[in-house]
């Protein structure tokens, strides 16, 4: 990944896909490392309601409160591809992404016809 990327437009707020193409969260924020005068580098993708707190003022804080404390840090080295979506190298559970979907699934599966 040597080509230039506009992080604000091409990465931030984009859909995360795991290696199976499963939608498993958004790029809610980016962790950038490097002090003043140093070379800045993207260290990780941050996802989850906890991250919204710092993003949209009052509205973001309310959304974060409703959404809960979830916060997942995915190292940038795990990114396989940045195209229309951001694709990761492994499966969502390996990063702790999409956990709520995984937790809810067994309940939905109890209803007849859930596999349809």
């Amino acid at each position: 990944m040597s080509e230039e990327l506009d992080l604000g437009l091409a990465v931030l707020d984009h859909q995360l896909l795991d290696c199976d193409g499963r939608r498993c969260g958004n790029v809610d924020d980016l962790a950038i490392e490097g002090g003043p005068g140093e070379h800045a580098e993207v260290a990780a993708i941050l996802s989850g309601p906890n991250v919204w707190r710092g993003r949209a003022g009052f509205l973001g804080r309310i959304a974060a409160r409703i959404g809960g404390d979830g916060r997942v840090r995915t190292p940038w080295s795990e990114v396989a591809e940045v195209e229309a979506h951001v694709t990761l190298k492994k499966r969502a559970p390996d990063y702790g992404l999409g956990r709520l979907d995984d937790r809810l699934r067994p309940w939905i599966e109890r209803i007849p016809g859930a596999g349809r």
Partner: protein
């Protein structure tokens, strides 16, 4: 075979265009101003064609649905505001459509309204749970084609065709300019309801469209919505021919169906009610899905009916919750037609925030490559954005000044 499939899609689009908002505003506009506002329907239909085509193209090329684009382009804060506005309007519309289904069922069966609301909700829930996306679209799209009875009725009512033709030329021939403007805004809002593009773009991903399907996209948008607009003309003409100057406001779905009953008798009435039932039922499902699509896309959850119910758990839970909320709203006994008017006017306010991100993404060569907007799409897109902006700023003041179209 390919041609056959395209034809099926177009038929479904025709039947799927008309919902309770179009029914109410077209017939009421006819009753209040005759055929004078037909030109507004043309403006609205071209607008929905332009933006649906863009949404379908963006979805086919970049696999982004509307709320993916909204969040990426306007950011988290403005995106969240758009989401909240969209969800409120969407829930109001869903409740109105469900109420419409129950009214149709009551007119067809004579059973009590509240039980029929419950029956409608259970039926809709079962259909969405069991039936695949393609078949949902087909069943309701084809059933909605019964609305073509209004086209026959419009001819049989022998309107003054000179007046009808004159209606396609923008003109104001009334002392009540405010009410005229209110109806113009409502008709535009009904034709360009945002849930149509939420559903259309997500539907393109549901059906696995890719760049090879751009021809189908264009045909669906152009012919499907174009002919759907033709149904709107028919509704306004029946409203004008039947109710203009009668001091009757067709505020009930039953009186809308009268537009077909008067010239065509019992058969006309039954066909009209079946058409309305499928149109409004289909729109219930479109709005139900749209609410779940929007939230899931904004949050980055797995979504789509093409995943199984258990394959997209939070998406499934969202539409189940929306269905229960809609049940609660309709059960309060609120008049679905009144709810429709509010939903359409409020949706107009939310239009610019929905359509701007689409215009921006459809222009972005980074994703769209050679499929990015050409000059025609951009000129039309920008023109419509200006129209939408003007209309959205005037919607609420007009609603207040005309006392929701009562003046």
């Amino acid at each position: 075979m390919k041609i056959f499939q395209i034809a099926l899609g177009i038929l479904a689009a025709i039947g799927g265009f008309v919902d309770i908002g179009d029914l109410v505003f077209n017939v009421a506009a006819g009753a209040a101003f005759g055929y004078q506002l037909l030109w507004v329907v043309v403006v609205g239909v071209v607008g929905i064609i332009v933006y649906s085509e863009m949404c379908g193209r963006v979805a086919a090329v970049s696999e982004k649905a509307v709320f993916d684009a909204v969040r990426e382009r306007v950011g988290f804060g403005a995106g969240l505001t758009t989401l909240i506005a969209a969800q409120v309007v969407n829930l109001m519309t869903l409740a109105a459509e469900v109420g419409g289904v129950a009214i149709c069922l009551r007119l067809l069966s004579g059973l009590p309204y509240r039980w029929l609301i419950l029956a409608a909700i259970v039926a809709l829930g079962l259909i969405v749970w069991v039936v695949s996306f393609d078949w949902i679209e087909r069943i309701f799209g084809y059933g909605g084609l019964c609305l073509l009875v209004f086209a026959v009725a419009a001819v049989k009512l022998h309107p003054d065709w000179g007046d009808v033709a004159h209606g396609f030329v923008p003109h104001v021939d009334t002392s009540d300019t405010l009410l005229y403007c209110y109806f113009a805004v409502g008709l535009l809002g009904a034709a360009m309801t945002p849930y149509e593009v939420y559903f259309y773009s997500s539907g393109a991903i549901e059906e696995g469209w890719g760049p090879k399907d751009l021809g189908i996209n264009r045909a669906n948008a152009l012919i499907g919505y174009g002919l759907g607009g033709f149904l709107s003309f028919a509704l306004m003409i029946t409203g004008g021919a039947l109710f203009l100057g009668q001091e009757i406001e067709p505020e009930l779905l039953g009186s809308i169906a009268m537009g077909a009953q008067v010239p065509l008798g019992q058969v006309g009435l039954v066909l009209a009610l079946i058409g309305i039932l499928f149109a409004v039922g289909g729109a219930s499902i479109d709005t139900l899905f749209s609410g779940a699509y929007n939230l899931a896309q904004f949050m980055g959850w797995e979504w789509g009916r093409y995943r199984s119910n258990a394959g997209a758990p939070r998406f499934t839970l969202t539409w189940l919750v929306l269905l229960v909320l809609a049940l609660g709203i309709v059960m309060t006994g609120i008049d679905p037609v009144m709810l429709t008017e509010y939903a359409v006017i409020f949706s107009v306010v939310a239009l610019p925030l929905t359509y701007l991100p689409i215009l921006l993404v459809a222009n972005d060569k980074a994703y769209m490559g050679r499929y990015a907007n050409g000059r025609l799409a951009n000129v039309l897109g920008a023109t419509y954005f200006v129209i939408i902006l003007a209309v959205s700023l005037s919607a609420i003041p007009l609603m207040i000044l005309t006392n929701v179209g009562q003046s």
